[in-house]
Symmetry: C2
Subunit: 499 residues, 2 copies
């Protein structure tokens, strides 16, 4: 009794397999053995389903930036261990073993680094910060920020708050009203387990499989992963130097997407701020297309690299436009370990999302929400100031080291955020950042190849080989300055790959 | 520019609307106005989509246990306010306004109580406990249970742990190995945001839309909600007095479900333990059907009402059967506000689930996981003992009061858990528990009508009107004993409804 494989005659592309392999080379032992071991594990977990055709040796060797002999030896080892079989003219396949429906889902390769335990010397792939000292102190000693009577009242409740803890909803509404210039009441706020859940809940609640969703290209890979899992049809709008509003309006008019997902300040990965007139135009488009939800991801909004007025969210430009929605998070300012994010929108939307969240997890962790509410109402501005200095020191270190060691690299000067979107030098199309990222990994430096942030990349079929994204890498500047400087020197020692 | 309503000519059944109305009557004011206000709000949130036909006045009046005049006046008010329109022969419809894809999702009515703020005097609908004192002390003073060096090391990490904090994975693996008789290593454990997320992630990762999933009928409504949202085809196996293993095997052989979801100890809502020979038989069925995932929800396993040996999980009966999976939670033992649950299964399954969790929320709240790990490794047995006394006092209070006030009610004597599955007296089919629950709500007592726990109930089309579930109510005994006694007296004052 075996189930038919989900794609009995399908193959996996070399780049898609590269994503799944993750940091396969970051361990001891000969490369061919590391490669075979990792492929065997993926077959074991059904991430590579039974019957799947592996890439041709030559293609995989190119994608991994290794010799063809290495791939050939790995495939031979898999055959020897009964995990694969080869037939003349039909390539090498995973031996039918056991498959599950999960085989048709595929994690975005972006998360490979988060999901595996391989340690690299300099991880420039994860735009994540350590815990701000004010936050660590509150977590360690909750009584320093909590009122004792309120704290005891909380632990007497059942602890289920699908909308979020009332105190935190109030604190977030005040934060949006007073600091972001976005008037909001507590009933317009849903607390989520970080910004990732905010995006995922919006998609689960508001996007049906097959519906179009427009995103900037490149964009936050976590949004792409959630969209692909939901079966959305993702439409990318070029945004390497900011979105062209004409093009955005054309996409909305033509495709009538269920959702448009934007990161106006500061864009992930470019770090740019959407210009004032573009933001105003987007708010007008939203007013004209009430059946499309326009999502403004503000996760990085409070991380400017320069002084200046705070960029107001799109929703502040259309106060009577109920399809303008904001997503926020404290992960990049306070700590990712808090897993505290939110969605702010119309009361009706929030009610639908709360029902979706009840089915997903019945609410986020309750006690910590009280601590976060106290931090938002208390030392928030101190934390913003502290983190601002933290980020600027790191950006200066990385940018300076890159300019010194890799003068051919170029990037748009970021206005804020935690990443730098660097173009590798090369021919007209630029270099192949996927092969570069593989070579970097073997030097102990993890970077994200641009295709993983591109809407045109879907693993098995990457239609965007000629899109700009493949010539770029995303470099997060969240490691200590000396680690960033050493990483730049290591990257400079890698021979520039060309297509 | 308006989108076509998702079901332009569709209507909603009276029971389905009753679910969505939730605790509509638990407020001040005339009933017709409360009813109209709640319907208008549902239309506003698109939970009742534009164009939807409302139930006939007579049907809704019966379902809500109110007079037909009340419904007629409510519909009139909706027409007066432009929210509805009536046409001869075509009934009353929500006026086209704005609809969203969310309109085709529907929350299980079970969650209505969790999602609204209406307060009832005695809530017997939510099987949720307050925070155990040992847990509250640790949350308030983390340094009392955490090692300072480990704590500081944690806040220096980025805080993203899609698999769960390593220390908590180790603590859960030890807990399963040493206390539950289920040998497990940390790589076989995924930490989740409560048992609800454990069930939801299993469904998202392992069940494709349209695939069959078998459940006990009645069962945990949170599982039903997640299954319906995922588009699974839910097959109920009668379980009012325990599952017949012949029937289970027949369903598995005939339908080849992607998943079988079971609650062997202590079943929600009946509180029964699956007999030893039935559990052994289920483990053998699982071994024979490796493409079906058998999920054992152990959330209530450590809440026995009587002394005796602990019931081992199904997975302990088939240590070499990788499709036997366990779900656990501390919500009912420690506190729901922790939102700490887990999945234990094969390493391959855990790897797929971690990728799914990364896309859902990139991991649960990190710092609290360190506290929970310390509690699991420390005062766990004290908490089990304390909670056991807590539960038994409440069960005795409710059961005694029901026997005294409502001698016609019967229920299977529960072996454990937090609920009592009571059959209302009536004719052959029993009474109509939906109407009874409505009448109880107006007396300030919230109970769950049995149909919300039945696989045959899907809101719009309830095919199980003649299934046993509709004659039952689920009563949680988690309120203080005096509240439970007062509730029983109030329930006794309600005239028994009949079909």
């Amino acid at each position: 009794m075996t189930t038919q494989p989900a794609w009995p005659s399908a193959g996996i592309g070399a780049l898609a397999l590269t994503d799944l392999l993750g940091r396969w080379a970051a361990a001891d032992g000969p490369l061919y053995r590391l490669l075979a071991t990792r492929i065997a594990r993926l077959a074991d977990t059904a991430e590579l389903p039974a019957g799947l055709r592996l890439p041709a040796e030559r293609d995989l060797a190119t994608a991994l930036s290794v010799s063809r002999n290495t791939v050939a030896a790995a495939y031979q080892l898999l055959r020897d261990e009964g995990m694969a079989e080869s037939r003349r003219g039909a390539g090498t396949r995973i031996v039918p073993h056991r498959t599950t429906p999960a085989a048709v889902h595929r994690a975005n390769g972006f998360f490979a680094g988060l999901l595996e335990e391989a340690v690299v010397e300099a991880d420039l792939s994860l735009a994540a910060v350590d815990c701000a000292p004010q936050v660590a102190a509150a977590l360690t000693n909750p009584d320093s920020v909590l009122d004792r009577a309120e704290r005891d009242a909380l632990t007497r409740t059942p602890g289920y708050f699908p909308h979020g803890l009332p105190d935190l909803r109030i604190a977030i509404a005040s934060h949006l009203t007073e600091r972001a210039g976005l008037p909001a009441g507590p009933s317009q706020v849903l607390v989520t387990t970080g910004g990732q859940q905010a995006v995922d809940l919006l998609i689960r609640s508001e996007v049906l499989p097959g519906q179009p969703v427009a995103v900037e290209d490149p964009t936050f890979p976590g949004a792409l992963d959630a969209l692909h899992r939901a079966g959305a049809r993702v439409i990318g709008i070029p945004a390497g130097e900011g979105v062209d509003p004409e093009r955005l309006e054309h996409v909305v008019r033509t495709h009538r997407p269920a959702m448009v997902y934007l990161i106006p300040a500061h864009h992930n990965p470019t770090g740019l701020v959407m210009a004032t007139q573009v933001r105003q135009r987007v708010a007008r488009i939203a007013a004209a297309y009430p059946d499309t939800l326009f999502v403004d991801d503000m996760t990085l909004a409070e991380l400017p690299l320069r002084d200046g007025p705070r960029v107001p969210p799109l929703a502040a430009l259309g106060p009577d436009v109920p399809n303008l929605v904001s997503v926020g998070s404290l992960s990049k300012l306070y700590w990712g370990g808090l897993r505290t994010g939110w969605i702010s929108g119309s009361g009706g939307l929030i009610a639908r999302l709360a029902a979706t969240k009840a089915a997903a997890d019945q609410g986020s962790t309750a006690f910590q929400q009280a601590i976060v509410a106290a931090l938002l109402s208390g030392p928030h501005e101190d934390i913003v100031k502290w983190r601002g200095e933290w980020v600027r020191a790191r950006y200066d270190a990385l940018a300076g080291a890159l300019r010194a060691s890799l003068p051919g690299w170029t990037w748009p000067e970021p206005d804020g955020g935690l990443c730098l979107w660097a173009r590798l030098p090369g021919e007209a199309d630029g270099a192949d950042s996927s092969a570069f990222a593989q070579a970097a990994l073997r030097q102990g430096v993890a970077v994200v190849p641009g295709r993983l942030l591109s809407a045109s990349y879907r693993g098995a079929s990457y239609e965007g080989a000629h899109s700009g994204a493949n010539a770029f890498v995303r470099l997060a500047f969240t490691q200590p300055p000396d680690v960033l400087r050493a990483a730049a020197r290591k990257l400079a020692a890698i021979p520039p790959p060309s297509r």
